[in-house]
Each structure stands twice: as C-alpha cells, then as structure tokens.
C-alpha cells in the first residue's frame, strides 16, 4: 500500500519520497592543532556557508585550550573573513555543579552577554586546561545569507571549567548578528592563547 497525494507518491514500500526527506550534510571538519583561530569561510576548500541551507550546525568535540581559565568565543564576518566584527546582542546563562558537590547554580551572567557589540561572543566560560579537560557543544546559525533579517544563533555547551575547583558548566548562549548583510564566514578562538586541540564539524540542514 502506498500513500499518494494528488498523484504524488509520498510513501511506498517503506521508502519516503526524496522531496519529503530532510538531511544533515557534513560540509567540513576542522581539527585544531595549536591554532590561534579556526575559521569556516564560504566558497573555498569545500566550505559552503550561504543560501544553500537555511540552517547550519557547528558541532564541537573536545575543544581544549592552550591557556588556563579562558573563554571559547566566536564571531561572524560579512566580508568572507577579512573582518570578524558583526554587531551582536546576546544572552548567556548557565547551569553549574562542582566535582565536590558543594556548589550548584543556575545563573544569568551579565559579563558574558553583549549589547550591540562587535566583540567575540562567549560560547563557554573559564576553560580548564588540565589534560583531561575539554568542552563540547553545538551552535546553530540560522539563514546566514538572508538579506532581510538579522542572523539568529543558539548554542549549548558543556565544559569542565575551573582548574582549582572543577565544575561541569553548561552554558546557554543565544543572540543575533544585527546585520541584514549576508554572513559568509565564522571564526572560533579562545579569549587568550591557542586552541590546543579539538574538532569542529560544520553541517548543513535541509
């Protein structure tokens, strides 16, 4: 039995018609090796960051800083990576719990948000540079090539933060790039020092 609508087969023999399927396409994987920055720039080396997809997802695996007590941050570009300085307004709150079990919190942190600033946005706070510490998470960037609306993004991370009193820290960052120009490049770095190691995979959602 098939499911047919107005002459178009939607479901047949366990298969969904291709026009009804969504997909998550791996575009590019970058691996850090003591790099100061990691950048995805549209139009080169197989990187697509344009109107091909309405949503892009960056997945971060075990990002490890070269310097203790730093923040993992990102910014966007509207000139294919010549400048990473898009004006942004953002929010930041986190849940946190330390290894000793003596402290836990859910807290909005004003020092971690931005109001119409071109600064890099924090995705994660107070990285612990111990060899077994890292942070992991996702960043969704919506419709970066849209030339009518602002550029929304939402991020969730989890990290092992603070060296002297280690915490699991779950930051929630969201906001928008306040530009109607197409965003065509994104850059990640630590607030100080290099990205010692870690992978970032860029996916397109259709």
């Amino acid at each position: 039995m098939a499911l047919i609508s107005n002459g178009t087969t939607i479901l047949d023999a366990g298969s969904v018609a291709s026009s009804f399927k969504g997909s998550m396409t791996l575009i590019k994987k970058l691996t850090a090796s003591s790099d100061a920055t990691l950048s995805f720039v549209n139009g080169a080396s197989g990187v697509v960051l344009d109107g091909t997809y309405k949503e892009y997802v960056f997945m971060f695996n075990n990002m490890h800083p070269g310097t203790d007590n730093t923040h993992f941050v990102f910014n966007m570009s509207i000139d294919t990576g010549s400048n990473y300085n898009v004006t942004k307004t953002t929010t930041y709150f986190h849940a946190a719990h330390n290894e000793s079990g003596s402290a836990s919190e859910v807290e909005y942190q004003t020092p971690s948000d931005l109001a119409q600033s071109t600064d890099f946005t924090r995705l994660q706070n107070f990285s612990n540079s111990n060899s077994d510490a890292s942070c992991t998470g996702t960043l969704h960037l919506y419709d970066p090539s849209n030339t009518t609306h602002v550029k929304h993004f939402i991020s969730i991370f989890n990290s092992s933060s603070y060296t002297t009193d280690p915490y699991t820290l779950q930051p929630f960052t969201s906001g928008y790039g306040n530009t109607t120009s197409a965003v065509d490049a994104v850059q990640f770095k630590y607030s100080s020092g290099n990205i010692d190691a870690g992978d970032i995979c860029l996916y397109g959602i259709s």
């Binding site: 590019k28 950048s39 720039v41 080396s45 990187v47």
Partner: protein, 95 residues
C-alpha cells in the same frame, strides 16, 4: 612562536599586524585577570548570601551561627587583591 589561523583546514601564518593585534588582545586579557577573578568571587558570595536571605526577613530571628556565616561571606573579599588570593579563598561552611 608564530601564530596560525586554520581557515577551512589550511594553516595560514599571522601577519605582523595580526600578531601585534593578538599580542595586545592577550595583554588586555592578562591585565584583566584580577578583575575577572574578583568578579567571580563576588558572584559566588552574592549567590550564597541570596540562598539564606529568606532567613533574614523581619519576621525571623537569625541564629548566631547564621549571622556569623553571613558576615563572613560579606567580608570574604577583605584583603583579597591578587588572583592567587582569589583562588585561595576558604569559603565558610553553611550552618
């Protein structure tokens, strides 16, 4: 040690101008270390005080232990003027 961008998987060495800009950025970061550390201490102090604020309402009498605990929290930044002192703070135990 030169710095490198990783752009789409290709390593590109910083220009002299980029090195100078990043040096300045990292110096500013280092210079702000104490401000970040003491802000973190104050955030934690304020959070711990807020957890027991309800005990200090006008229709309640604080125990002596709780009064001491809250005063110790208020005094937690006294004499703390370096990052090392921030990291070495011994927090009072909630009664």
């Amino acid at each position: 040690m030169p710095r490198y961008h990783n752009i789409n998987g290709n390593r590109v060495q910083f220009t002299a101008e980029e090195e100078a800009a990043r040096d300045a950025e990292e110096q500013a970061w280092a210079d702000g270390a104490f401000n970040r550390a003491i802000a973190d201490v104050r955030n934690k102090r304020n959070r711990l005080l807020a957890e027991t604020d309800y005990l200090a309402l006008s229709d309640n009498t604080l125990t002596s232990d709780m009064t001491t605990y809250r005063q110790n929290l208020r005094d937690i930044t006294n004499g703390v003027d370096t990052v090392d002192k921030c990291n070495a703070i011994s927090w009072p135990t909630k009664p």
